[in-house]
């Protein structure tokens, strides 16, 4: 028996900010969930199961917070799963929830991801002594900067490309009311003049630390029929993992990322992603990852990604808009960032992305990665149900 088609019928986000002092963690997640329910025209009693994700528990200092959040998310008496796949977790969480519907285990599932980074200190959370393993020492930027440098050397990309991405994403964020960083005075010169943090990554080319949550309601064909607004349909979804460190690992374009994208395209019957996909919400925490992932996800040939960026192809009005929402560079509640990518892709094909809507978008990709570029999650959603 083929899988049940999965539809996204409700999406809710919080306004992402540096610190939500006005709500508890429970209050934060409930805000996103209530908005998703309202979008879907459903109530708590319509939900069969809850799948929740977030990045490390040390970011809030709560071990397995889903236990405490069960009440706030209406999960009492229901199944509740907690996914954790590092930075890719928001995407993985959505895929685990989608599988519950696809497998016909449940009909309507609430999936949610969050991070309330202000409850703790993310750099501290990432810098705890490592009892069993070698330390990575330099935080996320320090870990990824050498791989960006390797990309530049390998492809001959001029060192201006990173700032173009940051300038674009921060301008896109101005059109997204939920985005964290709204800088109406942003200029390319300002990005280029920002301090160098981890050469070649500048301050304005890095993601912020945000408080925020994102929720989606996933349902089956019957549920989609009753939805008050057009659904987004899942045409393909996949996760791939490889070890953090091993001889022969290509940190510039990890095999797991390529395999993940190829699997999604196979499921969605996409043969020419550049031409057939209308919008991409890509996980770009440091600006240079846009050209790198353009290649990794098959939108550009090897060494060609930066040329698309430089030519404006990935701009809001380009022919392959990347991160119309402003992306991770403008909003980064880490555990939720992947789900925001998945949700923003769904908003695009539902025609409900507001000011940052890509006109006529019928197929969009949501993408996330995590760990030492070792965990990948991706889905492709469409405005029409999958064939068959």
């Amino acid at each position: 028996m083929p899988k049940e088609p999965v539809a996204v019928v409700g999406i809710g986000q919080t306004k992402h900010v540096a610190a939500r002092h006005d709500v508890s963690i429970a209050g934060l997640v409930r805000e996103a969930a209530v908005r998703a329910l309202a979008d879907a025209g459903l109530t708590w009693s319509d939900i069969d199961a809850v799948v929740i994700g977030k990045a490390p528990d040390f970011f809030e200092g709560v071990m397995m917070p889903e236990l405490y959040l069960a009440d706030a998310l209406g999960a009492v008496g229901k199944p509740m799963l907690r996914v954790h796949t590092a930075g890719s977790v928001g995407g993985s969480t959505a895929l685990v929830a989608a599988n519950l519907v696809a497998a016909r285990v449940h009909r309507t599932v609430l999936t949610l991801a969050f991070e309330k980074q202000s409850e703790s200190n993310a750099m501290w959370g990432l810098s705890l002594p490592v009892p069993f393993q070698q330390p990575l020492l330099a935080g996320a930027g320090g870990f990824f900067a050498p791989h960006v440098r390797a990309y530049m050397r390998r492809t001959g990309a001029p060192d201006t490309v990173g700032s173009l991405v940051a300038y674009k994403d921060r301008r896109n964020a101005l059109k997204n009311p939920y985005a964290h960083i709204h800088d109406p005075d942003i200029t390319l010169e300002k990005v280029q003049a920002s301090p160098m943090l981890w050469d070649p990554i500048r301050y304005s080319e890095t993601c912020p630390s945000s408080d925020g949550a994102c929720a989606m309601i996933l349902t089956d064909r019957e549920g989609a029929r009753r939805a008050p607004h057009p659904p987004a349909w899942v045409h393909g979804g996949a996760m791939r993992s490889e070890p953090t460190l091993f001889a022969g690992k290509d940190f510039v374009s990890p095999q797991a990322g390529k395999d993940c994208a190829a699997d999604v395209y196979r499921q969605a019957r996409i043969t020419d992603p550049r031409r057939e996909i209308d919008a991409v919400e890509m996980y770009v925490p440091f600006s240079w990852y846009e050209p790198m992932w353009l290649e990794n996800l098959g939108f550009a040939g090897e060494g060609e990604g930066w040329k698309l960026t430089e030519a404006g192809v990935t701009e809001l009005d380009g022919d392959l808009p990347v991160n119309p929402s402003g992306g991770v560079l403008s909003t980064n509640p880490i555990g939720a960032s992947g789900m925001i990518r998945f949700a923003e892709a769904a908003l695009q094909v539902r025609g409900r992305a507001g000011e940052h809507q890509i006109e006529g978008a019928t197929r969009a990709v949501g993408h996330a990665y995590g760990g030492g570029a070792q965990f990948f999650a991706m889905w492709l959603v469409g405005s029409q149900p999958p064939p068959g």
Partner: protein, 350 residues
């Protein structure tokens, strides 16, 4: 519904400390053992899922390195739950149900020795109202035990006999940490004595799932998962009846546990008093063999102990010692979240 079975199970010898072993070191032997038992290679597995908790390791992203033990290159389809491995098995079962995978490797591990596990588990509680008071896991279990005694559901002598039975059974379990005659001991937190509480230890476990004919080819007597479900309750102890476990009952109902009697039950009851609660919720009579492995009172590697219940129940079916077994896993304070699976051998189904 696709027929899915547990076809292989392995666990470590659980020990009080394993200072000399990294998490990967702890995992490697059990991963090799289940793969060896089926003849499968890592890259032939359709889906991999693991369970663990960062707070035990005392660092963020502790599971990322554990993946090294799997040998995940070429890249694999993989996921992780910040939960007991029993829930990783559930996620893997769902994946197989979608038709996207025919086999799955599930593993979980927990090293409790680097920290004070009673303190660590307080960080699981409501961070604003409860966690700042540091009520530890034994104290919370003692509240539940006292509620049971007050309700007339048990007494200290009956609890001691549960501990004695578990640890006597554990003498035949080469993996158990605490076996044989263990004195009831002094009160740790009244009314619980040391004998009512689980040992603290490090350990890991792994399971392989397979669908239909693949399962039959990999295992002489697969343990078919006839039903599996899990449910959560409110977090606050003040809004729960601690003498009952409605989430266990509900999960058991959805898993089909009440349709026919089970001959074996592997219950994840780290405290003797919790066995009393679970027996009642599951309406288990004296004709059901409860925790022949010794259960969590004999070895309780946190985050693996629930998966081990599924593995032990399956292994009994593999060995022909059970035809229909119930396996249970729990998470959270005082049995807040519970998973129930019903496993059957081929002949029981026919």
């Amino acid at each position: 519904m696709r027929d899915v079975a547990i076809v292989a199970f392995a666990q470590t010898a659980h020990r009080r400390r394993t200072d000399e072993l990294s998490e990967v070191d702890l995992l490697m032997p059990v991963l090799h053992e289940v793969l060896g038992a089926t003849g499968l290679k890592a890259n032939e597995i359709g889906f991999t899922c693991s369970g663990s908790a960062d707070y035990l390791a005392g660092r963020a992203f502790s599971f990322t390195m554990a993946l090294d033990g799997v040998g995940a290159h070429p890249p694999i389809s993989e996921s992780h739950v910040e939960m007991d491995g029993a829930w990783a098995l559930y996620e893997a079962w769902v994946k197989i149900m979608t038709g996207e995978a025919d086999t799955a490797l599930v593993y979980s591990y927990g090293k409790s020795s680097p920290g004070e596990v009673r303190d660590v588990l307080t960080r699981q509680l409501d961070p604003y109202y409860l966690a700042p008071l540091w009520p530890d896991s034994v104290a919370l279990a003692a509240l539940q035990a006292q509620a049971l005694i007050d309700a007339g559901d048990t007494d200290e002598a009956a609890l001691a006999s549960i501990a004695a039975r578990s640890r006597a059974d554990a003498t035949t379990n080469p993996h158990a940490q605490l076996t044989g005659d263990v004195p009831a001991g002094d009160h740790l937190v009244h009314p619980l004595r040391t004998g009512d509480c689980p040992p603290i230890g490090d350990g890991a476990a792994a399971v392989i799932l397979a669908v239909g004919e693949t399962a039959r080819a990999l295992c002489a007597r697969p343990a078919w998962i006839r039903g599996i479900d899990h449910r959560i309750e409110a977090h606050s102890l003040g809004v729960r009846d601690l003498t009952d476990s409605p989430s266990t009952r509900l999960a058991a109902q959805h898993a089909g546990a009440f349709e026919r009697p089970v001959d074996t039950a592997e219950l994840h009851a780290p405290f003797t008093s919790q066995e009393v609660v679970l027996r009642k919720a599951l309406t288990l009579g004296d004709d059901t063999r409860v925790n022949p492995s010794g259960g969590a009172l004999a070895a309780n590697p946190i985050m693996a102990a629930g998966l081990i219940r599924l593995g032990e129940a399956a292994a009994r079916i593999h060995r022909g010692e059970s035809d229909r077994a119930l396996a249970h896993a729990t998470s959270g304070p005082c049995l807040q979240q519970n998973l129930v699976a019903v496993l059957e051998g081929e002949t029981a189904h026919a």
